[in-house]
């Protein structure tokens, strides 16, 4: 199914949900539950807490289905809700993420060949993704799990497109460096 027809179908379901159609809600849940859950759990790293956040996200979707105006894709709107719920959760728990800060000037470029080898192993990718701080992880997750454009990611996170490009730039560099290091460790 193309992105356009998938969006049309989700919009149709939202319209029915706005009229109180629970069967439409169940269909909407089945279509969106896994990607939204994956996004949440990739950021919280706690499956049980992620279940609760997912629940809150879909309750919000049900309650505000009638408010969707179609100014963005349904997927972007849904991930925006999930993004804000996760941020609320971080604020509630006073979670401050200070990992992976990198200096302004980075003069060593990762070896792309080594990165390519390491990127073919899921455990290395999972480990390195887990090492990123939240802003970076969120941008990479939406780009690679959900195939979102930088414009869509900016909409979800409610930041300028340039901010997303900067986050992706740093995240990519850190991921590459981490993958290269992992391959080096495995070879020892």
């Amino acid at each position: 199914m193309s992105a356009t027809s998938a969006n049309a179908e989700l919009t149709f379901l939202l319209e029915r949900m706005a009229g109180g159609d629970k069967a439409a809600f169940a269909a909407f849940y089945k279509a969106m539950e896994k990607p939204v859950y994956r996004f949440i759990v990739s950021r919280l790293n706690d499956p049980f807490e992620s279940h609760d956040i997912l629940h809150e996200v879909f309750m919000d979707i049900w309650r505000s289905a009638g408010k969707f105006e179609g100014r963005s894709a349904v997927k972007t709107w849904v991930f925006g809700i999930a993004y804000r719920k996760v941020m609320d959760n971080f604020r509630k728990h006073g979670r401050v993420d200070v990992r992976d800060e990198m200096p302004e000037q980075v003069d060593d470029s990762p070896d792309a060949g080594a990165c390519l080898l390491a990127s073919q192993q899921a455990e290395h990718v999972r480990f390195c993704l887990g090492e990123l701080k939240d802003d970076h992880k969120q941008a990479i997750s939406l780009a690679f799990y959900e195939d979102m454009s930088y414009g869509e990611i900016a909409e979800v996170a409610e930041v300028p497109e340039g901010t997303i490009k900067t986050r992706i730039f740093h995240a990519k560099k850190l991921l590459m460096r981490c993958l290269q290091a992992r391959l080096g460790e495995a070879a020892i």
């Binding site: 390519l116 490009k165 590459m176």
Partner: protein, 205 residues
């Protein structure tokens, strides 16, 4: 002949993941693609990003699925009932309000003491069923208990959720044996802030 936008090395590096996920468009795409075509190191980097994306998308995720949907439906229906009550309230006399409150209280008491007599198989709220093993207990949690709290408690007591929540909000849990089930019932009934009631399920072994 179209003129490609001039992009710096950093801009190309930032846009490379969007070439990998195929969301770059127009002149920007052409410019990044041209830079990749001209530099073997960028080609390798692009391949690494595509591979990373492939690994991430192939990753299995164990989401709440039908359990999550059943929980949502239960909460949506509860909200609708509340809303219905609030809308109807101005037209009713105080006697009716009292009667409604009594009915709700009675319903809550019944909820607590409902016994699951389903034998070895429990019907899941989402419509499926699964064979349940061990000794079963039926538990009503307080309405604002979160799934994380419930699951943490289940883990600490060595219990497994094998059914629910039903439309009444009841969970069917499974313990390894009779002794651990009885101990779990005692401990759960002591958790006033989380559990409304816990009972061994009749015939649930």
């Amino acid at each position: 002949m179209s003129t490609l936008p001039e992009l710096t090395e950093d801009e190309i590096a930032a846009l490379l993941p969007f070439l990998a996920n195929d969301t770059l468009e127009g002149a920007e795409r052409e410019a990044v693609q041209a830079a990749v075509d001209a530099a073997p190191s960028l080609q390798q980097e692009l391949e690494a990003l595509k591979s990373m994306r492939g690994q991430m998308q192939a990753e299995e995720v164990s989401s709440p699925g039908e359990f999550g949907l059943a929980r949502l439906m239960r909460d949506i229906e509860a909200e609708q009932r509340e809303l219905g009550k609030m809308q109807a309230a101005p037209q009713r006399s105080n006697i009716w309000k009292l009667a409604a409150a009594a009915a709700v209280a009675l319903f809550a008491v019944q909820t607590v003491f409902v016994w699951n007599t389903g034998g070895d198989t429990v019907e899941l709220a989402g419509g499926g069923s699964q064979a349940a093993t061990g000794v079963q207990l039926t538990v009503a949690f307080v309405p604002d208990a979160t799934e994380a709290e419930i699951r943490n408690q289940m883990l600490s007591l060595g219990l497994r959720i094998v059914g629910g929540p039903t439309a009444l909000g009841l969970y069917t849990l499974s313990a390894q044996d009779q002794t651990s089930a009885e101990r779990a019932v005692r401990q759960l009934n002591g958790l006033d802030t989380l559990v409304e009631s816990a009972e061994l399920t009749e015939g649930g072994q």
